[in-house]
Symmetry: C2
Subunit: 220 residues, 2 copies
Amino acid sequence: MSLSAIAKPILYSYWRSSCSWRVRIALNLKEIPYDIKPISLIKSGGEQHCNEYREVNPMEQVPALQIDGHTLIESVAIMHYLEETRPQRPLLPQDVHKRAKVREIVEIICSGIQPLQNLIVLIHVGEEKKKEWAQHWITRGFRAVEKALSTSAGKYCVGDEISMADCCLVPQVFNARRFHVDLRPYPIILRIDRELEANPAFRAAHPSNQPDCPPELPNK
Amino acid sequence: MSLSAIAKPILYSYWRSSCSWRVRIALNLKEIPYDIKPISLIKSGGEQHCNEYREVNPMEQVPALQIDGHTLIESVAIMHYLEETRPQRPLLPQDVHKRAKVREIVEIICSGIQPLQNLIVLIHVGEEKKKEWAQHWITRGFRAVEKALSTSAGKYCVGDEISMADCCLVPQVFNARRFHVDLRPYPIILRIDRELEANPAFRAAHPSNQPDCPPELPNK
């Protein structure tokens, strides 16, 4: 095994980035030790735009994961890689229809909600309209997530085992709260979020427990 | 086997929807016969918003696929389901790092580009700004896709076998042309798009070959 393969993985992460957070949860659930290299999305106009980091991730966003001698980007692709190389503590169910349901919820959040309310898009939307814009897309997506959960959820998003869907849901609920979305119409989402709050893998991945989290947390 | 399992799959599709198009390509590549049920995103303010279709897909968008007695939504989840239940003509490579690369390109397009330039978002952005908005996000994403392809591409996006990444790339190139994006900075994207143009599975899935394509095609 090469040196790079046995080196500890490095996660380029920002404390409040929901996409970084998904991967932190997955790494924690699978008990894969890793180091964090913080990339501030705020400092100096965003460290993700500097030339050095652009070589790591040409999308100029977090996360990126250096693992097994490779640099991986895009959070859902990274979670699938971890699943395929570290099958312990699976993030996908065995049953093919349940797997489809997990991926459906993942995609509603990761393609249907988060991209429309992430920092770079909100800068483009403008300060005046950004809250309403974010609320609109989160509300639309959460209606669909709640509907999906009404037939799939057990203790967690799909049945009683934690999956990739849960890794994506919890950070999205945090974002919804940041934008003051009324979450009362989504009782299943809220119940699952509460259920996972105390889970050690989720707790350790929380923004407030990150090395780059500022001491004065505006949105804890 | 139950009746629903042997019934021909039904794809809810719109001729110009790039997400429907991805699934049409995947079905064609795997030679799975299917019927199309057209959902017009234009007629009567959008048939995807009617009560009946909202029961099929609570995100109120296409595609949705009725297959094996289940209704699946979200194009990437559907492609994975097809891959896991119909392994003939694989859409993912065997090698785990190549699989990660395929999923990375898929996610750049399906989370990083398409959601920001789809119809429902552009309606929200407004007629005046929509072209510039779409160009901005497609250009940003294509820079990253071209960079990824510079190390992964063979004849197609990842090596010499067609994958999910190709199913996503071709419809996104079509959208880029619709919004008059200058594609000259992306020679690898253009080469792969040209390569796939003549492929029968891609040709049959093209918007101009759909039953609901209007006779007068504005953007053929």
